[in-house]
Amino acid sequence: MAIKRREFLGHMALGSAVLTMPAFLQGCGVQNATAVSQATPENPFMTWFGVDQATAARVMSELTARGADASDLYFQHSRSNSLRLEDGIVSSASSGIQQGVGLRVVIGEQTGYAFTEDLTMPSMLAAARTASAIASGSAVAAPQAFNPQGTGDLYTTTVPWSDVGIDQKLPVLKFVEEKAKAMDPAIDKVAVYWSDADERVMIATLDGKLVTDHRPMTRLTVVVTAKRDGEVQTGYSNIAAREEFDWYSEERILTMVKEAVDRTMIQFEAIRPPAGEMPVILASGASGILLHEAIGHGMEADFNRKGTSIYSDMIGKKVAEPFVTVVDQASIPRERGALNYDDEGNKAGRTVMVENGILKSYLHDQISAKQYGLGPTGSGRRQSYKYSPMPRMSCTFMEDGPHTKEEIIAAVDHGIICETYTNGQVQIGAGDYTFYVKNGWLVEKGKITAPIKDVNIIGNGPESLKRITMVANDARLDTGGWTCGKNGQSVPVSQGIPTVLVSNMTVGGENVS
């Protein structure tokens, strides 16, 4: 029931979107996880349910019996596993199977949607009739056969997660705990969370496409609690990708563990910065959260076709200095936000949102692309078969600029560097956005002087873009497992950025005079 409620609250948060790290970091408890036996076949719909071309065609025909500009069947089978280590033992596992088909009819800007978890012909036909009720025209000709599209190669795996047993995963969790405890005597508790998932989708569209995609995902998180002189501090780190078991090399794991320990121990020294407006340096990597909130959401075309985004009338205008280029790209191999095809069956690719300072393109789904008279950008995504798709980000980043990190730090007289984050949010209409800085540094007279922690930063999207005065040449994508929430739907995303200087932002802080 708790889940229902949260989904609902998501609906009400229209016009606002949030980006978060895993929910358990906010104390909610971890969901899902494990594996062995019962290997899922490559195409469970054909193998398990006899959903062949003829069945899909029959359901599509019912779905479009009252008319349609577009329609699709989104079959999904997702198997997820998780493990949890606390107090030295791996004593909790979870697993989940989500299986169903979502049926959608689109007429102009109108959408009819239904889904069923019972993949029998009578249930699918009933769902098709429910979804088609939004339409009141005459039937369109549905394809008799669907044309299979080539499978993508962005995240092919040699060993699917269904073939990786707990006996292989358990030592990884133990290793993380052992290494974390060994790194500092002050470390009191270590918790380790593992998750993996195999998701398979099959999308059949009214224009006759048949797309299949196998989407693996994994994430490893370590949470560290340290005690010193009666004071307690908690920190964490995680890594995530569309990868397989072999990806977890000792070096990769140790880098993550060291990050978590360093982020925890530095908090014993860290202060709150003074409050107010100041220059803010965003460190490379996770600071891509700025792009996600300050511009990415505002560029999703559903907000723009409705005129509700602050960017609605700004295409072709100068929004930033000429050295600022911002891209959303799903075609980056193995990234958490990567996709071969979007959830409407369109090839996912690369969309340049800001090119050399000029606002270039929104992120489109089919509905908005049609309204703007453009081709789709492959940005239609959905959380699962339970939801209709909408424009979403994938991997959002800024390209390299002409400056260096050293030049940027030297240029700041009094400001801060932001390094790690827990979450962000944006208000689409006003353009106000925020992100929460977990760790960072104070900069005084061009030098790093003290660690800081726990401050929220707030700004206005278009104003912040204008205030990006320096961009370094050290762009990288963050390795953390980000999840983006919009209108009640969560999807995995990636983000990245080089070191940049924003000349003025509002920093939450203490010591207000």
């Binding site: 029931m1 708790a2 409620r5 609902f8 009400m12 229209l14 016009g15 949030v18 906010q26 104390g27 408890g29 899902n32 594996a35 062995v36 036996s37 019962q38 791996v90 004593s91 909790s92 596992a93 979870s94 697993s95 989940g96 989500q98 299986q99 169903g100 800007e109 009819g112 889904f115 978890e117 019972d118 009720a133 939004i134 006996d167 609690t225 307690v232 908690t234 409050a275 409705k306 005129g307 509700t308 609605s312 009338d313 700004m314 339970k386 979450n423 689409i428 006003a430 106000d432 925020t434 929460y436 726990d454 929220n456 278009p462 509002t506 920093v507 939450g508 802080g509 207000v512 005079s513």
Partner: protein, 438 residues
């Protein structure tokens, strides 16, 4: 419906036992959800769905795991559960992992919580459309409106649980919500937006759609011309709706799990005066038509009235059976029901007058808190309070501090509860708070 689900849960427990589990707990759920979204004069989206799932927790050889599936075909379900038992056996033993002791099932209340309105299942398409049109009309009549989206969401949720040590119980509730989000043309490229929703289990208890839309429009209008607020230390008046989410942040680490894991500023606070004496919080699962009302929690523990904070003194934490056992704490419940904040006697107008000058918070934007230390920093939108009255709209501001300190600085409590929430809070006034802005 309930008997079917109850059978399904009992069968799953049997399957788990047959597959070698020592104990098992299963919950079968089914729900119907309907969504209508209506934008700028026409229907934009209709979603009508029926969903189902089975959750099962397995206990075997002092080991534990939990699993969920939406694939309920009998042969595959049996395989899924057998695999779940195998997964459990591959874990490490943990003596604290045990099924909820049966004595915690006893004394289950039988109060009529009035959570089901049979009229919800009969809401017609025409009715939903009429509500949408009524919501839409209020918003689109205003000259500054760029876009307004009205929504109607209704449905029914049923679930039933069974365990190998004799638990049997079911829960049913209906819901119906409607409201709208409105975007207005502001200065330059800026849009002012706001919205409001009302909801409940019972259709006839809802305010008229036009009244709901009017509140949404007023909230959007109030944002017009919003500017960045000042950097200042002053009083903070948090409106009843925003106060609920602040209370949520305060209570998040008030659990045995957080305390046992060393991640809670509530550690060692039970029995001490940790907060202002103006603060009283009770977890009350038995409020008729309450959004969090129930007869038992997710572990089967019978519902009871649970004081969390009384006049600033911490009385209880949220304690589930597992972390309770680990931490040596008696279980209360691991999950919140209705969180009821003790009322003061001030109306909102009286609170504004008492404050005189300060910041009135109407919504939060992002931000977070560290559960271990209580340090927080939140983005906000609202108004300046000038001479006891609501003044100019402000945004692009943060409030920063420590949650434990903040709730020690709680100075006044209103009597104006926000009703559409599981957290029933009035407006709250805090003294000497750090704001950052221009």
């Amino acid at each position: 419906m309930s008997a079917d689900l109850q059978n399904r849960a009992a069968q799953a427990v049997e399957m788990a036992k047959a597959a070698g589990a020592d104990d098992a707990w299963a919950t079968a759920s089914q729900g119907r959800d309907v969504e209508f979204e209506f934008r700028d004069g026409s229907l934009e989206k209709v979603k009508d769905t029926t969903s189902r799932s089975l959750d099962i927790q397995i206990y075997a050889d002092d080991r534990y795991s939990n699993h969920q599936t939406t694939d309920l075909s009998p042969d595959r379900l049996e395989g899924f559960i057998a695999e779940a038992v195998a997964i459990t056996r591959a874990l490490e033993p943990d003596e604290h992992r045990q099924l909820t002791p049966a004595e915690l099932f006893s004394g289950r209340p039988t109060d009529d919580l009035d959570l089901v309105d049979s009229a919800v299942a009969d809401i017609s398409r025409d009715q939903r459309l009429a509500w949408c049109e009524s919501l839409d009309r209020v918003a689109t009549d205003h000259e500054r409106v760029i876009s307004a989206t009205a929504g109607v969401y209704d449905g029914t949720l049923n679930s039933a649980s069974a365990s190998s040590n004799g638990f049997v119980g079911s829960h049913a509730q209906t819901y119906c919500w409607y409201g709208s989000n409105i975007t207005l043309r502001d200065e330059g490229e800026k849009r002012a937006s706001g919205g409001w929703y009302a909801g409940g289990q019972h259709v006839d208890a809802l305010p008229a759609p036009s009244d709901v839309a009017r509140i949404g429009l007023d909230r959007a209008l109030a944002r017009l011309g919003s500017e960045k607020g000042p950097t200042v230390k002053t009083a903070m008046l948090v409106d009843a709706q925003a106060a609920g989410s602040l209370i949520g942040r305060l209570l998040r680490p008030a659990t045995a799990r957080s305390v046992q894991q060393g991640q809670s500023f509530w550690t060692d606070l039970v029995g001490t005066r940790a907060f202002s004496e103006k603060l009283t919080i009770v977890d009350d699962p038995l409020i008729p038509r309450g959004f969090g009302s129930r007869h038992f929690d997710s572990e089967g523990i019978s519902a009871r009235y649970l004081p969390i904070v009384e006049n600033g003194v911490v009385r209880n934490l949220y304690v589930d059976t597992y972390y309770g056992r680990k931490a040596g704490m008696k279980p209360t419940t691991g999950s919140a029901s209705n969180r009821v904040i003790g009322l003061g006697d001030h109306t909102l107008a009286a609170l504004l007058k008492e404050v005189g000058n300060g910041v009135y918070v109407t919504s939060w934007l992002g931000g977070n808190a560290d559960s271990t230390t209580g340090d927080f920093s939140l983005g906000l939108r609202g108004h300046m309070i000038e001479n006891g009255k609501i003044g100019r709209p402000v945004g692009e501001m943060n409030v920063t501090g420590n949650l434990k300190d903040l709730f020690s600085q709680l100075e006044l409590v209103g009597n104006d509860v926000h009703p559409y929430s599981q957290t029933l809070s009035p407006s709250l006034v805090f003294g000497g708070v750090d704001f950052s802005g221009a």
